[in-house]
Each structure stands twice: as C-alpha cells, then as structure tokens.
C-alpha cells in the first residue's frame, strides 16, 4: 500500500498527462524519495526505524554469529563466550527432537520422519492425485510409520506410545488432528445447514459449546473424564484420546469455515442438481462440497496452521511433544543458561512448518484460480 492515510501531500511537481505513467519503473532514488523520504516527518521516521533496525541486526550479528559458540561439548566454553551458545542444540538435539524414546532406537524415528515427509509431499502433489495409486501408498506408508514407532517386529523392541516424544509426536498429533478433524468438520457443517431440525440443533449446540471453551478443558476431558465414560475394563490409549480431543476442537472451528463456503453456493446449484434427480448425498458430494471447499480454502489453511500450533498445548497434560521435551531438557543445570537458543530452535521448527504450509496453500489457491484443480 503506497497510499498514505496520514498526511495530505500536495504534489511537489505537477505532471502533465504525457509525463504521467503509473507503471513506469522508478530508479532507486525516486523510489526512496517516494516511499522513505517524501516529507520531513517521514524522513525522521525512516531514520529512527533504520537506526533501531541496524542496532538490532548489529546485536543479532554479534550475539548470534560473531561471539557465538557453535560447537563444544563443554558448557564452560559457552560460559566464557559473550554470544549465543548454539552448541546446546548440538549437545541436546536428541532428547529435544525425540523425547523419551529409547536412545539406541532413535534411528527408527529418523526413518519414520523421512517416510512421513515423503508421504506428505507425495499426497500434496497434484500429479499423484489418483486414488488407485494413493490408497495403496497410504496403506504402506502409514503401516510402516506405525511399525517404526511401535516396533515389536523384525527384531525391533516394542516401544509403547507413552514413550513416544519430540518432533515425531508433534507430527502424529498434527496429522491425526487434521485427518480425523476434517471429515467431522464437514459433517458438522452439513448438519448445521441441514433442513432436519434435530441434526441442525445437535450441530449448533455441539459447535457453539466447544468453540466457547478453551482447548485445555477439552484436553482435561480427554485425559480425566473420558475414561470414566467407558465401561469398566475398556481402555483407550491416552495418545488416541488426546488426538480425538484436539481433532474435535479443530473440527468445530473448521465446520464454521466450511459453513461459510456452503452459504456462498448459489441456490441455482441445488436446483440444478434437484432437476437432474440427484439425491441429497449425490448433490452434496459431487456438486456442493467441491465448490464450498474451494471457496473456503484460505480460511481452512489458516485453521490447519493453527492446529499445528495448537498441538503444543499437550505440554499441559504431560505428553512429550517437542516443546515439552525441550522444556524438560532445559532443566539440566549445566546447560539451562542457554534456554534462549533452545527455544529459538523450537520456534524455528514451528515457523518452518507453518511457513511451508502457507506457501503450499498459496500455490493451491493459484491452481484453483487457473482451473487446474
């Protein structure tokens, strides 16, 4: 936005019609004159902001690079340095990334993450969008992910889900949330738009009640209350309960977004489908939903990114995701001084995945706008 909302500008030079070309390329000097130094207050502002920024980057350069210790196994070396101690990441990356998982088995998590990332990348590439290809691929990859995590076959010792942790756990929580949550969200959104009062009423109450409470209370329900609802002797894995809890919370928000998309579908689409004698489910799955999901895609991605950030809430109920693991590792008296470096590392991981997701979402919007999907 180049337009100023704050100050009236009387054009310094009056252009004649011939001179005025809005698309003309500006030289750097002209550009800076227009966007940085076009009045005295603006110039002062630019100078002040630039000074602060330079100071900040100067500090980052000194602290983060010039005076930093990048590798050492001796915390005293870090103590002597005035800058950052990135060595803490090299020293502690295994418990931070893999949590409580048995140390000598952690190579399995590396394999699991590679399979996971390949699966995600393949599933998101339009060239592979062919169910005959994808379904067998998913069966193989999901099975191998769980084989790697649980073990118990091929000579790999069994690792219960209570020992899972770190980045793989964050990945499982996130994928589980989205995979369980999206279908529930679609059903809730359809229910809210349903002409049947019972279905509509149930959906409205469910969505509004869960959207009104914090995620933590839902996690408390999943951990402390849900087991009480089951008949004696029946137990559901805690990790699964938590994933279902986050997924349902996610679904309630997503349902509202999808409802927005559903409301944007013109009535004529329903009427055209009815005149072709399509049933409700045919109309919904073939005519309405594909359009509604495309319309609401930007907001859907926002909530998916939020779901990734929300997986960090499991620290409160003691699941060892990457944030919990890092917080636990930073209790080490030798290395606890370097918590800033450790948390910056975790923040960078979240930023990386969040940014990748939003880049991909932008790409999908482009595909939709050009009619490719």
């Amino acid at each position: 936005m180049t337009h100023s909302l704050s100050a009236p500008k009387v054009a310094a030079t009056v252009h004649t019609m011939e001179e005025f070309d809005p698309d003309a390329k500006l030289s750097f000097g002209e550009w800076a004159g227009k966007n940085l130094f076009n009045s005295i207050p603006q110039t002062i502002l630019t100078v002040v902001v630039a000074a602060c920024l330079l100071r900040f980057f100067w500090f980052v350069l000194n602290w983060g690079i010039l005076d930093a210790v990048f590798y050492t196994t001796d915390p005293d070396v870090c103590r002597a340095a005035t800058g950052a101690c990135w060595a803490v990441i090299a020293e502690k990356h295994r418990p931070m990334l893999f949590g409580l998982y048995p140390y000598d088995q952690q190579w399995r998590l590396v394999v699991m993450m590679v399979i996971y990332l390949i699966t995600v990348v393949v599933s998101l590439t339009p060239r592979f969008w062919n169910l005959k290809l994808l379904v067998p691929f998913w069966i193989v990859s999901v099975t191998s992910i769980f084989v790697m995590m649980f073990g118990g076959v091929f000579g790999m010792p069994f690792v219960p889900s209570t020992d899972w942790g770190g980045l793989p756990l964050t990945m499982i929580l996130f994928s589980g949330t989205v995979l369980i949550g999206m279908p529930v969200a679609v059903l809730l959104a359809l229910g809210r738009r349903s002409p049947l009062p019972v279905a509509k009423g149930f959906s409205v109450v469910f969505i509004e009640a869960l959207r009104g409470v914090p995620l933590i209370t839902i996690l408390f329900v999943a951990v402390n209350v849900f087991p009480l609802f089951l008949p004696a002797g029946v137990e559901v894995n805690k990790l699964l309960r938590v994933v279902i809890g986050i997924a349902i919370f996610f679904a309630c928000y997503q349902a509202e977004v999808i409802r927005g998309g559903l409301q944007a579908i013109p009535k004529g689409q329903y009427e055209a489908a009815a005149s072709l004698n399509l049933t409700y489910w045919q109309t919904t799955t073939r005519i309405i939903l594909p359009q509604a999901l495309r319309i609401s895609l930007p907001a859907i991605t926002n909530h998916i990114i939020a779901a990734m950030k929300n997986t960090s809430f499991v620290i409160i109920i003691g699941l060892f995701d990457i944030l919990t693991a890092t917080t636990a590792v930073m209790q080490d008296p030798l290395w606890r001084r370097y918590y800033i470096e450790a948390y910056l590392f975790v923040a960078a991981i979240y930023l990386f995945f969040g940014y990748s997701l939003s880049l991909y979402a932008r790409q999908v919007e482009k595909w939709i706008n050009t009619g490719r999907i």
Binding site: L53, T217, P231, Y339, A347
Partner: protein, 398 residues
Amino acid sequence: MSHLDESVHGGRPRPTLGNILYSKTFRTIAAQAVMAVLVIMAGLYLYRNIIDNLNAQSIATGFGFLEQDAQFDIGETVIPYSATDTFGRAFLVGLLNTLTVSAAGIVLATILGFLVGFARVSSNWLLSKVATGYVEIVRNIPVILQVIFWAVVLRNLPNARDAIDLGGFVFLTNRGLSFPVPSADPVHEFMLLALAAGIILAIVGNRMARRHREKTGQYIDMLWPSVALVVGLPALVWLVGGAPTELSVPALKGFNFKGGATISPEFTALLVGISLYASGFIAEIVRAGLQATAKGQIEAARSIGLRPRFVMRYVVLPQALRVIVPPLTSQYVSLIKNSSIAVIVGYPDLVNIGNTVMNQTGQAVEAIAVMMLVYLTISLVTSTLMNFYNRLVAIKER
C-alpha cells in the same frame, strides 16, 4: 430427495401404507426420530457408565464439594482468600484472576495491534516492512511457546540484590517488576470520580458539538476541550486536594523489595505472551479494515479540503470499524481462552485452580464442568458486548 414424491398422482396422494412409508415427510420425521433416540441412548449409556465407574472408585458426585474447605493456598488473589475458605471461593479467586489477566491482555493487545496495524499500511516502506516482520513472527510461534519463553526469561533475571535498575525507581528482578505508586491518599478517590465526570462531560460535549454541526453546519473542534476535560478535571481535584506528591518507592529490604507495587513474573509472562500473540492477529484485522476503505473515497475527501485528521475520523475509521469489530470480537474471546494456559507458568487462573481442585477432590467431572461453564459464559458475554458495540458502528441505513 425429489424421487420420494413419486407417489403423487394428479396432485393427490393415495393414502396407502406404502405411500406413507415412502413419503418425504414420513422419512424426514423418521430419520430425525432415529437420530434423536440414538443421541439420547448414547447419552444414557455414557451416564450409566460414569455413575458405575464413580461408584466403583468411591468418588463422590455432585457439587457439594464447593462448600468444603479448600485447604490450599493461592499465590495471587484479588479478593481475600485463605486456605480455610471453600473450594467455591477458590474458584471465584481463579475466575477473578482470569478476568484480570484477560482484561489487561485485551487492552495491551488492542493498543499494540492497532499501532502495528497502522504501521502496516504506513506509506513509509521501512516501517511497514518492520511491522510485517513482527506480525509474521508473533502469529506463527505457538502462544504456549511464547508464554514459556517469557516465563523462563523472567525466572532467569537477577535476584533482588542485583536487580536491573530502570531509572532508579523501577526494578526488574526474578520476583517481578517493582515500580513506585503514589502513597494512599483520600484525594485519589475523588480524582477517580473527577476522571469519570470528565469522560462523561467530554462525551456530552461532543454530542452537543455534533448536534450543533448538523443543525447549523458550523464545526466546533472538540478534540482539545475533550482532552482538557478528561485530564484536567482529575488534575484540578489533585491540586485542590493539596497536591499530595508522596510516592511509595520500592526499596531493597533484605532479600526483596518493599514498598511500591510489584507485578509477579507469572502474571507478566502470561500477559506478555498472550498479548503479543493476539496483537499480531489484531494488527492484520486492523490492516484489512483500513484497506477496506476505497482509495477514491480518501482522495475525494482530500479533494474537498478535509484535514487529514478529519479524513481519518469521518471517512476512514467509520468504514474501517465496520470491518474490524466482528473479527476483533473473536480475537478477544480467543485471548480470554488463551489465558487458560496460565497453569503452565503457575499463575493461579481458573483452570489452574480447577486443576488443583480436581487433584484434591478427585471430582474431575464437576471441576471440569465448572471451568467449561464459566468459559462459555465469559465467551457469550464478551460476544454480546462486542455485538452491542458492533451495532453502534455498523452501517446505519436511513
């Protein structure tokens, strides 16, 4: 479902059993009845299980425990509380703490968010880029990570002996932020009254000026008179009251600061974390609102010679607020809900105290039900208040 109406011949259905079974009305009612029965049966089944399980574990049911003695202490309280008070009062303390941190968070996040939002649309390229960077960082790091980060930063500050001295009167230590406050004086209460009176008078004055403008077309600038009323009246009362200047300044006594006021590190970490996170979202909402005003309108307003302040006040803001207020409401509600992560830094909010109650009594269902109901109520009240405000700023069709 149009094929269900095939039984209609010449506009009149034959009332046979088959026709009734296949009719749309019957099907709709039947489907819903089945749905309702299933939901009710599932509910009853779960209810029976929970009663059986609680009996088996001999855990009490019902809300009787709210009357029992809590027997635990709470670090920060707004109202008097001791371990001999009831669980019910403990919940109330938690609720008030939640409201305190949420209110402070909303004010802080709104101020920051509007500043950054205005910076985002600034014509100054550098400023708008810095604002964009800020928004992208605070929005994309999980709020819980931010709160934990600030908590650890505060915990690692020096202790009171080596306090970080901010100008000789304000001290930052691992026990929190200590700053001077005026010593209690009866004049303060009158100053508060004067402030309220000043605000009311300023609003009335603005109304009158507007009515005058609408009737006669003459513009009376009420900006400085309003400022004078709001700031000047309390100042006048202060002067009349003898201008008490005595300050209670924090001073090091033994291992801690005495005097002044101190904000605890738990409160500060939570407040800073949730406010910065929300401010990123609010900045984006404000940016979208400001950009929603068509460029031509701003140009038109300028071309008829409106001062920039009036372009903002009478052209941009009224239209921007219409776009800003509804999403801002959901950000406020979301900030209040985010305050529930207080448990992670040890600030005694509703969820933290509910958690303690749950562990002490074993009555998880009731404790969680109290938390959920309270949050639902807070969310509904916030939305209602903001919807009321929204009606004030919404387009008035005449």
